[in-house]
Symmetry: D2
Subunit: 348 residues, 4 copies
C-alpha cells in the first residue's frame, strides 16, 4: 500500500481531468491559446473569482506563475517583500530574480509562516533613497508553506500597508483551494476583494496534470504578461490541453471537492498521530501536517516504504523527536492514512 506523503505533486491526475484532456484531442485546433477551450477556461476562472475583467494566462508550473506575477509587479531595482520561508524565496532556484531582471527578495522573519503587517510596514518604511533597493511588491502564500491560512481581514491588513506604500500584492495560491475549503469564504474574499492584484492560481498540486493560472485583477497588465510568458518559453503551443484541465477542474466545483478530500486526509492523519502521543505542532488548516515524532518512528516508517520530508538526520538518538512534514493530496485514501498510522503505532 502506498505510503507516500512527500508531496502533493506526487499524486495522479484526477480521472475527470484526464477525460477532459482526451476529449480535447479531437482533430486540429488553433495553437498558442487561440482555441475555444482556452476562451472557456479563462471565462470559467473569471466567473469563479467573480472578476469579470481579470486577465487570465495559463502556464504549466507554479514557479512560472509566481515568477511571472512578480515580474509584472516589480521593477529590477525593487525589493520584493516575503516571509523567510516563502516558496518564492527558498524553493524556486532564483526564478523570481531571473524573471524580474534582478529584483531583491527581502525575507522578513515569520515564525508562523505568515507575513507580519508591522514588520512589513517597518521594512517598507526603511526604503526610499536612490542608494538602496526601492519599495516593491509584497507576496504571500495562501495557504502558507506551513499549512496555515490567512483570514480575509489578514490579507486586507497587508494589502492596506502595501497600498499606502504605493506597491502591490501578489498571492501565491498554489494551495488556494485548500485554504478556501478551510476558510469557507468566496474565492474573491481572500483575493481581489482583499486587495490582491496578481494571483498564482494553483491546480497541479490538486489533481491536474500540470496547469496553473496567472490571474491579473488589473487587466492593464495583460499584454505584458503575454509577452513575458512567451519570452520565458511558457507559451504552450497545444494550449487546449492546459485549458481542458482547467475547465474540468472548475466544473461543478471539482477543485474544492478535491481540496476538501486532501484536507480531510491531513486531518485524519494528524488526529491519529495525536492519539499516538504526537500532537500537531500547530492547528492544521490545509493539507500539510507538521508533527515531531521520535526518530525510531521515522525509521520504522521509512523501512515500511513511507516517504516524506524530515528536518534533521535519520540517524541519532532514537527517542529524540524529529520534525516532519506530511502532505496529502486529493487521492489519499482512509486506508492509506490508517496504514501509515498503524506502522507508526507499531514503533511506539
Amino acid at each position: 500500500m502506498n505510503l507516500d506523503f512527500a508531496s502533493d505533486n506526487a499524486g495522479p491526475v484526477h480521472p475527470k481531468v484526464l477525460e477532459a484532456m482526451i476529449r480535447a484531442n479531437d482533430g486540429p485546433a488553433r495553437a498558442y491559446g487561440e482555441d475555444g477551450w482556452t476562451l472557456r477556461a479563462c471565462e470559467a476562472l473569471r466567473e469563479v473569482l467573480e472578476a469579470p475583467e481579470a486577465a487570465v494566462h495559463l502556464v504549466t508550473t507554479g514557479t512560472a506563475a509566481n515568477a511571472l506575477c512578480l515580474a509584472l509587479l516589480a521593477r529590477p531595482w525593487d525589493a520584493v517583500f516575503c516571509t523567510d520561508v516563502a516558496h518564492v524565496h527558498e524553493d524556486e532556484c532564483n526564478a523570481p530574480e531571473m524573471f524580474t531582471g534582478g529584483a531583491k527578495l527581502l525575507p522578513l522573519p515569520a515564525p508562523e509562516a505568515k507575513l507580519d503587517p508591522a514588520a512589513l510596514e517597518r521594512a517598507l518604511g526603511a526604503l526610499g533613497s536612490v542608494h538602496g533597493p526601492q519599495k516593491g511588491p509584497v507576496t504571500i502564500a495562501q495557504a502558507t508553506e506551513r499549512g496555515n491560512v490567512y483570514r480575509p481581514q489578514e490579507v486586507e491588513a497587508i494589502a492596506r500597508i502595501a497600498r499606502a506604500a504605493g506597491v502591490r500584492l501578489h498571492m501565491d495560491g498554489t494551495r488556494l483551494a485548500n485554504a478556501l475549503v478551510q476558510l469557507g469564504c468566496a474565492p474573491a474574499a481572500t483575493t481581489w476583494r482583499a486587495g490582491v492584484t496578481a494571483l498564482s492560481f494553483g491546480g497541479t498540486k490538486n489533481g491536474l496534470m500540470g496547469a496553473e493560472a496567472v490571474v491579473l485583477f488589473d487587466p492593464a497588465l495583460s499584454r505584458e504578461a503575454e509577452l513575458r510568458r512567451k519570452r520565458a518559453g511558457h507559451l504552450v503551443s497545444k494550449h487546449r490541453f492546459l485549458a481542458a484541465q482547467m475547465l474540468a477542474y472548475l466544473e461543478g466545483g471539482l477543485w474544492l471537492e478535491l481540496a476538501a478530500q486532501a484536507n480531510a486526509a491531513a486531518a485524519r492523519l494528524l488526529k491519529g498521530l495525536g492519539l499516538l502521543g504526537w500532537p500537531p505542532l500547530w492547528p492544521v488548516e490545509s493539507n500539510l501536517a507538521f508533527v515531531a515524532m521520535p526518530r525510531r518512528v521515522h525509521r520504522r516508517l521509512f523501512a515500511a516504504g513511507a516517504s516524506y520530508h524530515l528536518w534533521g538526520p535519520e540517524t541519532g538518538d532514537p527517542d529524540e523527536p524529529v520534525l516532519c512534514r506530511l502532505v496529502c493530496d486529493w487521492s489519499k485514501t482512509d486506508a492509506e492514512v490508517d496504514r501509515f498510522l498503524e506502522v507508526a503505532a507499531g514503533a511506539c
Copy 2:
C-alpha cells in the same frame, strides 16, 4: 473537412501517446523527474541517438529547449551566430536573450535559410577585442524554417568552423524527425557525430502533447542545465507525463513514422499544386511547403475555411502571386490534402 495547414502545432496528440499518458496515471509517483518513466525515457533517447553518455532533460516547449541550450553554450557577453530567419531570432520574443542573460544574436544573411559556412567564418573572425561581443555558439535548425535540410557533411562543415574558433554548435531539432526521414541517415549522423554539442529534440510538432528534450552530448553541462531549467520555471512537477510522451514517441520508431506521414502529405500537396501550375519554390525536404499562388486562389481557399500563413496582404491584384507556407503534421489525410487541391483548382 479540415483545411488547416497553418502549423504543425495545431494537430492532435497521437493516440499511442495519449494512451501512454493514461497508463502513467497510476497512483503516486515521485515528482520532478525522479520517477521510472523519466529514467526510461532518457535512456530511450540516448539509445536512439547512440549517445550513451548524453544528458537528457525534458521540457514542455521548443522555445524553452532552445533557450536553455543556448544559455548553456553562451556567456552574456557573447554573440550567438544564427541565420536571419532563425526561429530563435525571429519567433521567440527574446527568450534566448533572457535565458543567456543578454547574449547578442547575430543574424547572418541566409537566402536559403541555411547558415553559410564562409559567412560564419568571416563573422567569427571579426570578433575578439574586449570592446565588442565575444565569439559564442552557433545555432542551426534541422530542418530549417524554410523546410530544407542540412546534409551531415554540411553540419560537419559548420561544426568544424565553430570548433576552430573555440565555440560550440547547437541544433534546433524541432523538426529533426522530418529531416531524418528525408536524409535517411542515423540520428547520430546529423547530430553529435557531425559536431553538435547541444540538441533541442522536438516532439510537440510531431504528435506529442507538449514534450521536448534538451540533449547535451557534453554531459558536463548537465548539472547547470538542471539548475537553469528549474530557475526558468521549466522543471515540471508531474514529470512522468512528459516522460510517458517521449517513451511512446520513440517506441517502435513512432516518431519517424509520424514524420514520414507529415512529409508525405506535404509532398502530395506540392505535387498537386505543381500540376495546377504553381511549382514549389524550392524542392520540399520536410513537412513545410512554400508556394506562390495568385491572390484569387488564396481568397477562394480562405473562403472555404482553409488556414495557413501568407506573406503579403489578402487584398490587391487577384492575379498577383503571393507566397504562402503550408504545414502538414502527421495527422493530415490524403482526403484533406486532396480537398485543399480541389478548392485551389476551382479558383483557376
Copy 3:
C-alpha cells in the same frame, strides 16, 4: 613628434577643463550629485540645448550613457533598431543587452552608416506578433561611426517613422559637437526639435577627462534614470568633478571650439592625402577620416611610429590599397598632421 591617430580617446584633457576640476577641489562638498557644481552643470546643458525641462544625469563613459538611454526606452522583449555598424551594436560588449535586461539589437544594413528610413519602416512593420521581439526604440549616432552627419531633416524623417510606430528615438551623441560644427545648426535642431527623446551627450572624446551626459527630453524618465544609473554602479560619489568638467566644457562654447579644431585637423589630413593621390572615400564631415592607401604606405607610417586602425592585414601585396581610419581630436596640431603627410609622401 606624435603620430597617434588611433582614437579621440587618446588625447589629453583640455587645460581649461583641468583647471576647473582643480578649482572644484575645495573642501568638502555633498556627494552623489547633490552639490552646486552639478546643479549648475545640468542647468548649463539645458540652456545649451534650449530644453528647460530636460533631465540631465552625468556618467563617466559613453557606453554607460548609451546603455542607460536604451534601457530607458526599451523593454526586455523589444527590438532596438540600429545600423549594422552602430557602436552600440559592435563596440560595447553587449552593454545595451545587459542594461535593457535582454532586448535585441536589430542591425539594419547601412552602407553609409546612416539609418535608412525605408529600411527602418519595413523592419518595424514586420513586428507585432507575440511570438517575435516587439517594436522598440531606434538609435542613431550623430556623427556616425563613419564620420558623416545626419541633417536635421534626416533625423526628423527617422523620428517620424519611430513615432508612427509608437517607439522613441535615441541619439548617440558621442561626437555631437563635431556634427554640430559641420552642420552649423543649433543643438536643439538636431536633437529634441528633430524628435530625439534621449541623448547621449559626449564629452570625453572632445577634451574632457571622463564625463558624458544622459539627457532626457522627456523628464518623466528622470527618476528611473537615477535608479538605473545607481544600480549600474554609475552614480559617482565625488560628483562635483564630473560636473566641473561639463561646466568648463560648455562655458563660452569651448565644446564647439574644440570640435572645430578636431574637424579642421581631419580636413587638413584628408586634403593632404588627396593631394598624394588617395582621395577620401566619402566627404569628411567630422573628425574621422577614412582613406585607402597602398599597404607600403601604411608600413612606412607604422615604422615611423604612427598608429591608427587598419582594415586588413599589414602583410601582403605592397601596392594593394588598404582602408584605414584616422581620428583627430582637439589637440592635433598642424605640425603633427603635416609630419604624418610627409611620412606618407615619402612612401610614394
Copy 4:
C-alpha cells in the same frame, strides 16, 4: 568652519593625487588601460598586496567594484551570503543582482555588523537541492559598515567555512586602509593570506577623486573581469587618470597615512563626545563613529550647520538619545573636530 561629518565621499581629493593627475595630462596616451600609468599602477598594487600574480582592474566606483567581484564569484542561481547591514545588500540599489544576472543576496543577522561563522555554516548547509538557490560566494566588508574590523583570524575562519562548502570569499575593502591602520598588519594578512579570492580595494573615500580596484587573487578570473567591466560600461577610455590616482595613492604609503588621519579624527571626536557624557556605542576601530546623543544636541548641531546621518526623527522628546553616525575622512582637522565638540557641549 566646516562641520560636515556625513560621508567620507564628501571630502576633497588629496593634493598629491591631483598633482599626479595633472602630470599625467601630457599629450596623447593609449586609451582603455593600455598605457604606462596603468601598467605601473597595477604593478604597484600587486607589490603592496605581496601578490605578484593577482589581476588588477580599475573602476570609478565602489559599487562597480563590488558588483563586478560578486559577478565573478556567483552564478545567477546562487545565493550570496552577507550580513544584513552589508553595503552590497542595503546601499547599492540591486547592483549585485544586476551584475550577477539575478543571484540572491542572503542577509544573515549580524548585530555587530560582522558575519558570524556559525550562522554562515548553517546557512550554507541548508542549501543544495535543485529547487533552492545554490551555494554561492561569501562577502564581508573590511572595515564593516559599523566601523569595526575583522582580525585576520576572523577572516580566516570565514574563509575556511566558505572553502569547505566549495565557495569563495569576497572582501569589500572600501575602507581597507582604515582597517589596516587599526590592525597594524600587512595588507596580505587580512586579504589573500586569510583566504580572500576577490577584493574591492577602495580609494575614493580616502583621498582619491574616483578610483577603486578590483583585485583578483585568482588570476584565472581576469579575462572575464575585463569583459564584465566593459559590458557594464566601466572600462574608462582615458584610463591613465584612474591609474595616476592609484599610483599617487600607493606611493610612499600615502593611502595608509590618509587613513591614519581619518581614524585619528574619529577617535578624537569620540573621545570628546565621551567626555561630554556620550560614550561610543562600541569601540571605534576605523573612521566611523557611532554615538547616541540627546535629540536637543543634534538640533543644536544641525542649527550650527553640521551634517551627518541620524537614525530617527529630528523632532520629538529633546532628551531622548538618538543614534547617529559621524564619518571622518583624511581631511578633517583637529579644529573642525573641536568646533563640533564645542557646539555639542553648548547643548548640554
